[in-house]
């Protein structure tokens, strides 16, 4: 796929409406200057941006449109300060210093609002339909679940947003993805998302925003929609969204940072930003999920996935460069073509992350693990302090601990292993996170298989990949 520029067709979609509401003007470069209504931050991608502002002696004119949290490097066992890992301490302290100096909102480390950015921000009601939201993090697309236009940006752009509340951007095309059919038992939003990626490929979404719709999405909870949108970027789409509806509005009602006095007025506005019934798209795709089964990835990118009944594709089914890449993935992952993953031993199970670290995800895992013992090291990491409290109220912590799982404090943990939670050597993990890239979970030779919380839980119980449906 080439650079996408010009020849836009989409009209009257949520994307078009939100984009034009936030357009400040066209820059001399031909890019659009776009206003940012919600700016989110974490400790890894922000310190250099603050430094750039200091260098230029700039302040932030709209500090209250920004909210920050520390999540990536924070330890998940012992939070006493200073952290044992001095680099993590420096990064967290730097964020604390910056939010104070620039007067931004901050979800403090030991407060009941701390958590993985993409779990805690929506949960606190900061993300609304119709917002243009950015964060120096590619999974910002998660917020599209609310009908916000949300995307990840780089650190230099973080400094642009801090200094001007705007940034330069090119408009994307819009692909409508209709997800149809009836989703089977034990099949989750995660499986649907991985199936979309393997169907449209990891770079199929480059140049596009994905609008997810259809009967399956209509019936999804907000948690499920967040999982779906979270993975949009893994399919190459910088942004993914679901049109806001009553599910969205009901979720936001009463959330700490959602509108209170103006709630009804807000709902009217939110409803008005949804794609019109006569909206036009650059592309429309239908994906039927009636026959879909739980998915496990076998390779080193999220498109390399098979269902529990399928076998890893044979090497000969690839040709040219794809064959080289498949062989490289086989070697790295220690698997072969034609093998089944079911029954393959794993060393670690990780349940958490901004993809699957919400209460409903832990509930699914608990449903399977309850009353059993796990056969391998299993980390269960709540996505936020609120998820953790919710889970403890429902007794999930006890279910997990009784089964032999580790019950951790909220953070990114083993999703990208910028803290002590890491794979060792070429350990094989079943992970509910979103990236199976080489080295992603902290060991340069570690092997990551992406799965749903159900599949992760069944795998933990058997010590090898298992079809979760027999436990449901």
């Amino acid at each position: 796929m080439k650079w996408i520029f010009g020849d836009f067709m989409s009209k009257n979609t949520l994307y078009d409406k939100v984009w034009s509401a936030h357009t400040v003007g066209i820059l001399p470069t031909g890019q659009t200057q776009i206003f940012v209504g919600r700016h989110l931050m974490h400790e890894v991608t922000s310190p250099q941006a603050f430094e750039m502002l200091r260098d230029r002696k700039l302040s932030s004119p709209n500090p209250k449109l920004a909210t920050a949290v520390a999540d990536h490097v924070v330890p998940t066992i012992d939070r006493s300060r200073p952290f044992k890992d001095s680099q993590a301490e420096i990064m967290t302290a730097e964020l604390e210093k910056n939010v104070k100096e620039f007067n931004l909102n901050y979800f403090a480390l030991n407060s009941d609002k701390q958590g993985v950015c993409h779990v805690t921000f929506p949960e606190q009601g900061i993300i609304w339909p119709g917002q243009l939201a950015v964060c120096g993090d590619s999974h910002t697309c998660t917020y599209g679940a609310f009908g916000a236009l949300a995307f990840g940006i780089g650190t230099t752009q973080v400094s642009h947003v801090l200094a001007t509340q705007t940034m330069a951007m090119e408009k994307l095309k819009v692909r409508r993805i209709n997800i149809t059919g009836k989703i089977g038992k034990g099949v989750t939003a995660k499986d649907v998302a991985l199936h979309i990626i393997r169907t449209l490929k990891v770079n199929g979404g480059v140049g596009y925003a994905y609008e997810f719709g259809g009967e399956v999405v209509d019936a999804m909870s907000m948690d499920e929609r967040m999982t779906l949108c979270n993975l949009a970027v893994e399919g190459g789409a910088r942004s993914g969204y679901v049109n806001p509806d009553n599910t969205t509005f009901n979720y936001l009602k009463g959330k700490p940072s959602a509108p209170k006095k103006d709630f009804d007025r807000a709902v009217n506005y939110w409803a008005s930003v949804a794609s019109a019934s006569d909206a036009e798209y650059d592309d429309v795709v239908e994906i039927n999920v009636s026959k879909l089964e739980p998915i496990i990835t076998w390779g080193v990118n999220p498109e390399q996935g098979i269902t529990v009944s399928e076998k890893v594709p044979a090497l000969d089914s690839f040709s040219g460069k794809a064959k080289e890449e498949a062989l490289d993935a086989f070697n790295y992952m220690g698997i072969t073509g034609n093998q089944s993953l079911i029954g393959t031993k794993v060393d670690v199970v990780f349940i958490g992350s901004c993809t699957n670290g919400r209460l409903s995800d832990l509930m699914q895992a608990a449903e399977i693990i309850k009353g059993k013992k796990v056969k391998v090291r299993t980390l269960v990491v709540a996505g936020s302090a609120e998820v953790k409290m919710g889970a403890e109220k429902l007794g999930f912590d006890k279910i997990f601990k009784d089964a032999g799982c580790e019950w951790r404090l909220p953070g990114c943990s083993m999703c990208l292993a910028m803290n002590p939670d890491k794979l060792i050597g070429n350990q094989r993990s079943a992970s509910t996170s979103n990236r199976n890239f080489k080295g992603r979970q902290g060991s340069p030779t570690g092997r990551t298989h992406l799965v749903s919380p159900y599949t992760a839980a069944a795998t933990a119980v058997e010590g090898m990949f298992a079809d979760p449906r027999k436990y449901l």
């Binding site: 995307f151 752009q157 190459g236 509108p259």
Partner: protein
């Protein structure tokens, strides 16, 4: 709006020797593994470029293009499809920049990565699979030959060859006008920013 020009920042071409890195879907975790990002400045990132691929058990893998003496000092990276996919980490283009990369020719780029490159002044251009293949072959056979990425003529030039390249027109203009450092131009339209801020209903919901 009149053409806005920042002379010191003008980049009309990049020339230098090249580094071949032809695989598809090279992601930001390949370019810089997350565990090397635990620093609050970008100063050291150049050392970490492709770290996990370049070293095995602490020893340099001499064949890796970022280690191979033939390609040392190269400033133009040549890559495959969907280069820079994965995370939004600016550490990735920063690592390449600090390693010495000033231009990347690929079959295609991941969106966020391409934007991050542009905002650092790394010129990212695309060329067809065929052109990339010939270019890679040329570099492997002539590692010390200079390659020129010419933004004025939209061509990559080497020896007597001139092959077409593509780049977003807005981005090309930004390099040619020296306005790729967007902050300076974003600061111009204060009125426009104020207007959008005042008309967006949700900023006033209580």
């Amino acid at each position: 709006m009149a053409e806005f020009v920042i002379k010191e920042n003008i980049i009309s071409s990049v020339s230098g020797t090249a580094i071949p890195k032809p695989a598809n879907d090279q992601n930001t975790d390949d370019i810089i593994p997350a565990r090397f990002m635990k620093e609050i400045t970008f100063a050291n990132m150049g050392k970490y470029a492709y770290c996990d691929e370049r070293f095995k058990d602490g020893k340099e893998i001499p064949m890796h293009p970022f280690n191979d003496k033939k390609f040392r000092g190269g400033s133009i990276l040549v890559a495959g499809v969907n280069y820079g996919c994965g995370s939004s980490r600016e550490h990735a283009p920063q690592a390449l920049y600090r390693y010495g990369v000033r231009a990347i020719i690929a079959e295609s780029f991941a969106e966020i990565f391409a934007g991050n490159c542009a905002s650092l002044g790394i010129v990212g251009v695309t060329a067809t699979a065929k052109e990339i293949a010939s270019l890679i072959e040329f570099i492997n056979n002539n590692p010390s030959e200079k390659i020129v990425v010419d933004l004025v003529e939209k061509k990559v030039k080497y020896k007597s060859i001139e092959a077409p390249i593509e780049i977003l027109e807005g981005r090309r203009r930004a390099f040619l006008n020296g306005t790729w450092d967007a902050l300076t131009i974003l600061q111009q339209n204060k009125e426009g920013i104020k207007k959008v801020k005042e008309t967006l209903p949700y900023l006033r919901f209580e």
